[in-house]
Symmetry: C2
Subunit: 648 residues, 2 copies
């Protein structure tokens, strides 16, 4: 086993772990390490890499092929330029970092140590590893079936993963920083905001934006919750109060979503992701096809005809989704039969136990919904994978669309049925409450407590193992053990499920809250615990994820906006159906419906105008962006003029 | 008077005319000419300029201060780089032109003569004149009230215009090219498309896009016209046929607007305006305020607080617009009274003349509408000017919004009233026909024949004057006379009115055509004549306009899309109200309305999904754009790598 002491500078700071399968051939390892170590000028990645030594508790079955990857500060800085990082300039604006004028950046001191956050360093290393390209190798040494050709990205998790050589690549936690972060994040009980900048510093922009959105959404719900409590307490059922609540609802939905765009732009600007140019997107791991030349890059890569993909989408995926929706409707009908049966039992023998029985169908239905969502989720992932999208972003969009449509239908179909077909408002408010509370409890359990409990067991085992061999009282785990422990943690699958949960909660609040005004209160309570459980799960349950330099919440903004449009329609319909409003038009139902429709159209128009009137990016950020663009245009002109003068 | 023979290269090709007032002080003229002639390296514009000699028909009252501006080919090419022109590269893609690799552009031959179109040359000269900035002058020599400060743009029509020194700046026509263009455009009667590339070559992208849109719109209307004729001929009034027409209408509206975006993107790509970066927008001519520093450019310029502008918009302009809308409603009510009176006269004494009388109120109303639109237009321009917008684009948007809202209301309010309040479909179809036909006749008259007649008179006078002094038979006017003749032509005020007219026609067709299916036929006929009259008016009635490098039809796309949304609502309502549909729900009007509303919502949702599914830019253009961006990113990386290797 080779020990990489030849590069061993004393300042080696391990950032990323590469885990290869335990029986990887020696020649493949040697080749890989040399490609990673070769300086950039010679076509390598120019990074530092070391094999992880056996821990104190070394056992025979431990995988020896764990490698720690790091880089010198100079290398990281040039990498920051490669990935196009934006940093604060000395004049307070955000500018693309370049090594040549590094000393003009605000936080750049001395040799640049501490200028980049750990998450940024890890992102840079991931990027450099993924863009390391084959030169003249035809295959991975020792693995003749793992084909390579000039220009193909080699180290990329994607290729090696599919050939079964690489197990995983993940960024290391930093014990000290993690302790500090978790203390200021959730350990002290206090009434203050989340430390978003610190979260971004440790986990990157994508995570921080999620927590920012969660916090924003919670605060935005507070006025609605306050508004809703008296309705619930005093059983207000007057016409005008009802309408007031619905109008408030509609305006609120629109405004909070618009304002979120602004605050997200502000956050993204200060984090440098707003104006960062996206690099060209490489094909995603699972993408396959006939080798050909990409029309954009002229590089050799698999091509897959778009027509074939469209056929798969429209002839297989779409019918499958429709079938699932039908199934979901069928289950809903069974629920209503159960509900009817429970009601008849209770009517025949009204006791405490039959009273409890009344809630049982709703609870069972809520559990079934969650199970169906889970199963469907796997099916949707499988189908979207099979559709063979070239880009990760396109894969994500199709997955989100499939999952959203089904979850929306699955969660809300019964409520729509009760509201508009059965027109039973009492049952509606009762169903809403049961669904909301059950799904919240289930979610928190599945999402945080279960993984926590599993991780705790693993953790304890490891500590016990170490303590067997060392003096007791030394609580800090040595590096080798920490790395092995983290390698065993579950992988965090991104913010998808977290956003999905918020989306459904937003639906419960905005669609039907004028029937059950307490919904907002419940959601606020849920969100407060959600912040803590999500924070805890990020810090202690899952493997640290790579940073994701997002500038906004992406497709979720659209999803929330669509939900708010649907909310306008349902709220108007609910108001039109309320007996208080009906009493206003005693002689003519037609008049009532026409008025309801007219008001609905007016509200929708108002909503669109509002969306249009509120600029997406705050004025002061707009000015800063315009200034940057103006300066680069002027610099270009000046350069051209200088050249002309020199030529003359 | 100085004659500029010092610069007089034999190849001097006059492109742009500057007209100063006839008693401009000599020192101001000398200063201006020297600033224009000074080479760029010394801070001038580096252009050629000559005073126009007196014509053969010189009269005492002729203005002697007409100057012809041109430039050498090298100067025009460096100007093309300054304004960021995109040209076809040798590999068929569109790239930003640079002088250093000019020989790699497809049409670049020899020394580059003929590489730029005349419209481009004129645009470049306009740009260079407008960005000519003051150095250390404190005021225009001889005019101490025309203040200047370092960095202030001096020649710009805007500053000098407001000080009463400059009368106008306009590009010259090119007799030969104009003849060729007008022949292939409208002189030969043929069934072929307009020569859009030639129009763009002569008038620039903004004009060509308008004519492209006009042509596209006309062709798009043909299926609708064909669809409508049998409805009109056979008086089809069946339920399903009606619905079929309306559904066709809705899908048609959405699809043509989406497809237009695609064809407009294709045109703009090949014309090089799609990927062209916009330069920083300077304040518009009329903008005034306290001198300060622009936060973006740090240049001294007038600043005007945004809050003050908002106050003017919401406290003055908005109430004014509302008042005008009220007035328009008032006039409409008078029209209905007249209509009632005419009807009663006809009922008492039904003769041919009283039958004609029935149409009189509609015709009068149509004329009044046109007059009100015209008067309101001036008021809107005045108000928007007074709102003091910093940017021309923001001024245009506010003006378009004001004018659109009023014109929409003014033209369609009576139709809405007849349709939904009076519910008189016979009157509706009759009113629609009268309004449509009258406004078409009036428009064509006001827009083309009147200015043509005026111009013809001027033209004849000039020719007679010239012929008095020269041998008869020489029909070509000498340059001096041609320039003076063009200087006297009316100024073309941009495509605003032309688009507005199309917008209203689109409204007539899409809103109510299921009541009057012949509308599409009438609009097609109108558009065919419109192409000819607009082409004629561009070529022979108005002064040649400067090119406007537009990439799309801008705010009008939004206006047309809004109209198509409104069309969905009205079409559904009209169908719901038709007696044939009502007969389907004999027992319950509520059911009918609910179904109508449900279908309307479904159609709206379908419309939005369609908008979302159809990509705005065709795939092959997307690939070309992505390729360009990828190459520039790669070039940047390579440059950085080379630098690094050199440093090491």
């Amino acid at each position: 086993m080779q020990q990489s002491d030849d590069s061993g500078a004393p300042s080696f700071n391990p950032l990323v772990v590469l885990e290869l399968i335990s029986d990887t051939k020696e020649e493949a390892i040697a080749w890989l390490l040399s490609r990673i170590r070769t300086p950039q000028q010679a076509g390598g990645a120019g990074l530092l890499v070391e094999q992880l030594g056996p821990g104190v508790s070394a056992e025979h079955k431990d995988n020896p092929n764990l490698f720690l990857v790091g880089a010198s500060w100079e290398r990281l800085l040039s990498g920051a330029e490669d990935v196009g990082l934006f940093k604060e300039y000395s004049d307070g604006s955000m500018r693309g970092f370049t090594c040549t004028n590094k000393h003009n950046f605000k936080d750049f001191q001395g040799d640049g140590d501490g200028f980049l956050s750990m998450a940024e360093c890890q992102y840079i290393i991931k990027h450099e590893l993924e863009t390391l390209r084959a030169k003249d190798e035809t295959h991975v040494p020792g693995y003749s079936n793992a084909k390579l050709y000039p220009g193909k990205s080699i180290i990329s998790v994607r290729r090696l993963l599919s050939k079964g050589i690489l197990i995983q690549m993940f960024p290391l936690h930093h014990k000290e920083e993690l302790k500090r972060l978790s203390f200021s994040w959730y350990k002290k009980f206090k009434l203050s905001l989340q430390p978003l900048d610190e979260i971004r510093h440790y986990y990157g922009e994508g995570q921080a934006l999620y927590f920012g959105f969660l916090e924003y959404f919670t605060f935005a719900l507070v006025p609605m919750a306050l508004f809703g409590v008296p309705y619930y307490m005093f059983d207000w059922e007057d016409y005008d109060k009802y309408v007031a609540f619905a109008v408030f609802n509609v305006v609120w939905c629109t405004i909070i979503l618009e304002l979120w765009k602004r605050s997200s732009a502000t956050l993204a600007y200060h984090w440098g992701t707003l104006s960062r140019k996206k690099a060209f997107e490489e094909p995603r791991p699972g993408f396959h096809g006939v080798l050909g030349y990409n029309p954009v890059t002229d590089r050799e890569e698999p091509l897959y005809p778009n027509a074939k993909r469209q056929l798969r989408i429209y002839l297989v995926s779409l019918p499958f989704v429709l079938l699932c929706l039908y199934l979901s409707l069928y289950v809903m009908m069974i629920y209503f039969q159960m509900e009817g049966w429970a009601l008849s039992v209770h009517d025949q023998d009204p006791s405490f136990w039959t009273g409890v029985l009344l809630y049982i169908p709703s609870i069972i239905y809520a559990v079934v919904i969650e199970v169906m969502n889970l199963v469907y989720r796997y099916a949707a992932e499988f189908l979207t994978e099979w559709e063979n999208h070239r880009l990760e972003s396109s894969y994500q969009n199709h997955l989100v669309l499939k999952v959203l449509v089904f979850n929306f239908f699955n969660c809300f179909a019964s409520l729509f049925y009760i509201a508009f077909v059965m027109q039973d408002m009492v049952l509606l408010s009762q169903s809403l409450a049961t669904l909301l509370i059950t799904s919240q409890i289930l979610n928190q359990f599945m999402e945080a407590f279960l993984p926590y409990w599993l991780q705790r067991r693993r953790n304890k085992k490891m500590i016990r193992k170490v303590q067997k061999k060392r003096t007791p009282g030394d609580k800090e785990l040595p590096l080798a053990e920490q790395v092995r422990l983290e390698a065993d943690m579950s992988t965090y699958l991104g913010t998808f499920d977290d956003y999905l949960e918020l989306f459904l909660l937003f639906g419960y609040v905005s669609l039907f809250s004028c029937v059950y005004p307490l919904a907002a209160v419940l959601v606020v309570l849920n969100n407060v615990t959600e912040v803590y459980s999500d924070a805890f799960k990020m810090c202690h349950v899952f493997k640290r994820p790579f940073a994701d330099p997002a500038a906004n919440i992406g497709v979720w903004q659209l999803a929330f906006e669509t939900m708010s449009v649907i909310a306008v329609v349902t709220n108007c319909a609910l108001i039109g159906m309320s007996p208080q409003v009906k009493a206003y038009f005693p002689e003519s139902e037609t008049q009532l419906i026409l008025w309801t429709v007219a008001i609905e159209h007016g509200l929708l128009a108002f909503k669109f105008i509002l969306t249009f009137l509120i600029p997406d990016v705050p004025k002061h950020i707009q000015i800063k962006l315009a200034r940057l663009e103006f300066e680069s245009l002027e610099a270009l002109k000046k350069k051209r003029k200088v050249k002309e003068i020199l030529e003359v």
